[in-house]
Point group: C2
Chain length 326, copies 2
């Protein structure tokens, strides 16, 4: 009797240890301009977090969940990813995306890809159907063709506001084009009940960037990272400083050293902002379901779903939550 009771208690303890409250957390970019447009993103990030969470709830994996959340934002014209991407210096759209799985540290990325509606899904194909971590440009296109990825015309990715931004830029190219909008991109991370994590990112990149310019969103370690032993992070801001600071990996490293998700995220975002003087944002989940959200940009749209609640924010110190009507 005593043995049975001990066994049950042990089992309960193990279950309690293993059970993590599943979360899908997304960001919708961290621009410094166009506050009105950014404001509209609140609804968009809520939809994306809930869309990703729905997949988890249906039994999908964390990878399925983050891909779905990013796809929702790629389809939403309000975000600088997929439809609504920023234009490069030639008025063209070249996109970047990446996806990473925390269980085996595998990942796939694409950089400078054109005419695909969902760069994040192409990145997932690279992860699952190629032996490589990153495919660029023409090679990525060839790979997409071989895997029957549908191509879409440039016009179907081009938003009215992206054209306006580009026209404005041409009339008045600012010296520091980093200050222009369209740096943000989108990202999603998820943790499931077993503490498994994944991360995904997608972006149209910087407005008026040179043709061929890669974004941090394509680069594992820079724009995103996921490791079941620690957690997952995805970041947003100026790709040039993010890549050189290796921001997502830095956050995971701080967590490895014992900082919780919130402190690690804040310290890394503060660190990169101090060193590069470029405002930046990041979202993080630990393998235990801790959440970290931090940004030094004016605004960053973020949202996460946990249980039947969606939490979201845009300005510093924002933290709203709503019961989801089922």
């Amino acid at each position: 009797m005593f043995l049975v009771r001990s066994f049950i208690l042990l089992l309960a303890a193990v279950v309690a240890t293993c059970h993590v409250e599943p979360i899908v957390l997304v960001h919708g970019g961290a621009d410094t301009v166009h506050p009105l447009r950014v404001e509209k993103r609140k609804e968009g990030v809520k939809n994306a977090a809930m869309g990703g969470y729905k997949i988890l709830k249906k039994g999908g994996s964390v990878v399925d969940a983050v891909e779905e959340a990013v796809k929702i934002m790629e389809e939403d014209v309000k975000f600088n990813a997929g439809y609504g991407s920023a234009l490069n210096s030639e008025g063209d759209i070249e996109m970047d995306a990446c996806i990473m799985v925390g269980s085996n540290l595998t990942s796939g990325g694409v950089t400078v890809v054109k005419n695909v509606a969902h760069p994040v899904s192409l990145a997932r194909l690279v992860m699952e159907k190629s032996p490589h971590f990153l495919l660029a440009g023409e090679g990525a296109k060839k790979f997409a063709k071989q895997h029957n990825v549908p191509f879409v015309p440039l016009a179907s990715l081009m938003a009215e506001h992206s054209k306006q931004d580009f026209d404005e830029y041409q009339k008045n190219p600012r010296k520091d084009d980093l200050e222009m909008g369209g740096c943000g991109g989108v990202g999603a991370i998820a943790v499931d009940a077993h503490g498994r994590v994944a991360a995904a990112s997608s972006t149209g990149g910087r407005l008026a960037k040179l043709p061929g310019r890669s974004s941090a969103a394509a680069i594992v370690g820079a724009g995103l990272y996921a490791d079941d032993e620690v957690g997952a992070a995805v970041v947003t801001g100026t790709g040039e400083s993010i890549a050189r600071y290796v921001l997502a990996h830095e956050i995971i490293n701080l967590m490895t050293r014992g900082f919780d998700a919130g402190v690690a995220t804040r310290n890394a975002v503060k660190g990169i902002t101090t060193r590069f003087r470029k405002p930046t944002g990041a979202i993080t989940v630990s393998k235990n379901g801790q959440v970290g959200i931090s940004f030094t940009t004016d605004k960053m749209a973020w949202a996460y779903q946990v249980r039947d609640d969606v939490h979201y924010g845009l300005d510093d110190y924002d933290h709203f939550s709503e019961k989801i009507k089922l």
Copy 2:
């Protein structure tokens, strides 16, 4: 009198603290096959280390030194970089390179570039003449043209042994092509008397890789890193695992946490080899001039010059040194 003496002592202490013994350290790749070819690389790495050191001695910067060392290896047919690059699955040559400066963490990279003799110099142009950290494919080509970089025919990059490897691969494509040769690439790091560091890398990438495949050698944080506050590292092996482990950044992180260059390098190389089961190599210098060299591949050609001595090795536990005849 006492004050003057104190001042002199203080000055001597400051000079002693600041003075670091300059070093240029290079690797020539870490292949698991073709031990005979790798053997020949010993002379090549010695030449490269001495060539880079000569630049430092003439008053050049650490960036000039690492660029020169890598250029020497790009010209040397024995290395998988520039002339002598491995062929991709279509028999073409697509190359990657990156360069990073520790003083301000700036960097430049190119991925999937064709028909240039010195990808590392194009990477330096990206660093100095563009606002970006990485240019890919056609965009990188356009940028090169705008900056009058000379183009060379494919034939001038193609070595006899690279063609033979490709023919062999076509006859007998191994299931795990990661085991094939031509994974190595080249890299160089340097520290000057003031403790300033830089890193550079260049590669033709994996034999029979898909067109468009990026190498870790193009990616800051993955293939190389340089930070004057810590040191510099450049790594070699399978780009896919290096990028996903963010190896160079991991080494620098371990050094930040207090490990010396040797231990940090060994621990990180051991860590990636355990996690991905892919043999890997890395070389490191700290801002104080400590050296770290570690590899889990069969062989890795490495060499460094310090004062008038060149040190080098190829197999585990090798450490030869020679006085340089001036």
